[in-house]
């Protein structure tokens, strides 16, 4: 039984089918990649899994539980951690506090016991601080644990966001374009981190534009195009799949599209170059 299974999901926005009867499975312990040109419906799919939006039809289940109509915080409490396409760290807190918020559900205490600082609160806070520092250490952020999260460089903030979702100890980690805006070195660091946490037993589901990264880390890749699932398989089979190449080459461009200069980078360029090579 797969950890996450998506069955016949359909979502429409003003008559446009963002997702058209998409079915996907994420097996326990794997790294699954999801790729596709802009507007293919990848982010929509993530929004539906995390409960930010509700599907028009279809069913999503996690650990054999129907999570289709659950609230976002209920879904994440079940063990689905996520990062965001646009970075969402809490700049009003320190680095270590950002990670500690990730543990919030596990920590003891409510409004009153925290306000009165009952004995076990102090203990669990101390424990949480230790665990948070461990996570920061594994991500190489321990040197800055006391500085404000907003003061970190962008790449480190991305890592911090990953650290925060790791602090939840999720069973499934959803990564929404983790490599966007990062330098090549940072992408390599990130891939190493993702592989490492996968080795430790976490299932990862990643949406990514950076082909190199997905091809490298994922064991299974699914390709979305115009809201339809057009291919699914190992990285090797996806690379040579004619339908995928077709989708990436003949992207639908709106009429007001400004042509890029020769050599200009589109999001799908990666695949073409890879195939040329």
């Amino acid at each position: 039984m797969p950890l996450l299974s998506i069955e016949e999901i359909t979502k429409e926005y003003d008559g446009i089918r963002a997702l058209d009867r998409v079915s996907l499975n994420v097996e326990r312990g794997s790294i699954k990649g999801l790729i596709g040109p802009n507007g293919a419906g990848k982010s929509t799919l993530f929004h539906l899994i995390t409960g930010v939006e509700k599907p028009d039809s279809g069913k999503i289940s996690f650990k054999e539980r129907d999570i289709t109509s659950m609230e976002p915080h209920e879904i994440s409490s079940l063990g689905i951690g996520r990062t965001f396409q646009t970075l969402q760290i809490w700049g009003n807190m320190t680095v270590v506090e950002n990670v500690m918020v990730g543990m919030n559900r596990r920590l003891k205490g409510n409004l009153f016991s925290c306000g009165l600082w009952l004995p076990w609160i102090g203990r669990s806070e101390k424990e949480a601080l230790g665990q948070a520092k461990e996570i920061l250490n594994s991500l190489g952020l321990l040197g800055k644990w006391e500085s404000m999260a907003s003061q970190l460089p962008y790449g480190k903030q991305k890592l911090l966001e990953l650290g925060r979702s790791l602090a939840m100890r999720p069973e499934l980690l959803l990564l929404d374009e983790p490599a966007s805006g990062l330098t090549l070195t940072e992408i390599r660091q990130l891939s190493e981190q993702i592989s490492k946490i996968n080795h430790e037993g976490m299932t990862v589901f990643v949406v990514e534009h950076h082909m190199g990264m997905v091809m490298e880390i994922a064991n299974q890749i699914a390709v979305l195009h115009n809201g339809k699932l057009i291919a699914e398989g190992t990285p090797e089979s996806i690379k040579t799949n004619p339908e995928v190449i077709e989708a990436y080459l003949t992207r639908h461009t709106p009429p007001h599209h400004i042509p890029l200069p020769p050599g200009g980078e589109g999001k799908g360029e990666g695949v073409r170059q890879k195939n040329d090579a």
Binding site: T50, V52, E71, P72, H73, S76, S77, G81, R82, F84, Q88, I89, W90, G91, N92, M93, T94, E97, M100, V101, G102, M103, N104, R105, L107, G109, N110, L111, C114, G115, L116, W117, I121, E125, A128, M148, R164, S165, A167, M168
Partner: protein, 362 residues
């Protein structure tokens, strides 16, 4: 509601002017150190504040000062609760005066009609404010930003209308008189000095509660909700519940403050809980610095002092008040808390020198 005691002679006037330094001095102590701004544990400095608060009324043993600080303390309790909601949870409420009013009326009704001991009425006030905050907050807190501000504003106005119209219960426009002094186990807080220690004792208790809250998981979750609700719910924080908790807590603080206010003023009437009062409290929070707990206390002292100071300029007081607030917001955009220490000490030094010089010339 601010005392406007007329001064007798010219020399008295001088002496009393100097008295205004006292709250300023306290303020300079209470204002947070910008470098410790984000450290959330209790520091040695906190004990200095505590010492200053305990000693201040003994050094300035003037009943006017005591009364002023009693008022400041009550406003600080109110501002503290509101700052948790505004500064930490990142929401806005313009109906906080209503909870203050609910606290005051609960105490007024329970002590005058049912002769309940004031301590029990005090607890009942917090409870009633919290229950009403829960009932109101559940639907209202789904709104965000301006809409939330407007909804809470509307709630405050509705409260006022209910109070004015239900004459049987609240005494209508005239209000309720003859609320007994606050007393615990037969000990009555009947002087300004005793009241000072009562109010500031309660304030310190609530301050410690709030500070513990802020440095615990609840505080972190609250800050997370303020910064990004999506991210907060992505780690399993129930955002609406979090907001509601803080709202109810702030209302309970306001209820306690209202109860104390009713006992000290020995009256409760609708004039005290108008929109102007809410704006005053919000000003205290923002002027003091919403993002920390020392700020609202500093803001409460500052504004109470400022209004009393200006009350002797009679009809000019409001424009001057407005100008001063504007200037403060221009020079201390993130609250006096952050940069006050350095500036205020400089200011006091300058003022003291100038005063000496002027008197020497005379």
């Amino acid at each position: 509601m601010f005392s406007q005691t007329k001064q007798g002679s010219q020399s008295d006037f001088r002496k009393r002017d100097l008295l205004y330094l006292a709250p300023l001095w306290l303020l300079s102590l209470i204002a947070p150190d910008p470098y410790l701004y984000h450290k959330k544990e209790f520091k040695k400095k906190d004990f200095y504040y505590l010492g200053a608060i305990c000693l201040a009324p003994l050094i300035w043993s003037d009943s006017h000062f005591h009364h002023l600080m009693v008022l400041a303390g009550i406003y600080a309790i109110l501002a503290l609760g509101l700052s948790l909601f505004i500064g930490y949870a990142g929401q806005i409420s313009l109906g906080h005066a209503a909870f203050f009013g609910i606290g005051a009326y609960t105490t007024a009704i329970l002590t005058t009609r049912y002769a309940l001991p004031s301590f029990l009425a005090f607890l009942a006030s917090a409870l009633s404010a919290a229950v009403i905050a829960y009932l109101v907050g559940r639907p209202i807190l789904k709104l965000k930003g301006y809409f939330l501000a407007l909804a809470t504003l509307g709630f405050g106005e509705i409260f006022l209308v209910i109070v004015r119209e239900s004459t049987d219960l609240t005494g209508g426009v005239i209000g309720i008189f003859g609320i007994p002094w606050f007393s615990v186990m037969g000990f009555s807080f009947d002087t300004y000095l005793k009241q000072y220690y009562l109010i500031w004792g309660v304030l310190i208790g609530l301050f410690i509660f709030s500070k513990n809250l802020v440095r615990s998981k609840v505080g972190r979750a609250t800050l997370a909700v303020a910064a990004s609700e999506d991210a907060a719910s992505s780690v399993g924080i129930n955002v609406p519940r979090m907001k509601l908790q803080i709202f109810v807590l702030g209302a309970a603080f306001a209820g306690l403050a209202g109860s104390l206010f009713a006992c000290i003023m020995s009256t409760a009437n609708p004039e005290a809980f108008s929109l102007g009062f809410t704006v005053l409290i919000v000003m205290m929070v923002i002027l003091g610095g919403a993002g920390n707990l020392y700020g609202p206390v500093a803001g409460a002292i500052l504004l109470t002092w400022l209004m009393d100071f200006l009350s002797k300029y009679q009809e000019y007081s409001l424009p001057i008040y407005g100008v001063i607030l504007t200037l403060l917001l221009i020079f201390f955009p993130d609250g006096i808390g952050t940069r006050l220490n350095v500036r205020l000490i400089y200011l006091i030094g300058y003022w003291a020198k100038k005063k000496k010089r002027d008197e020497g010339k005379l």
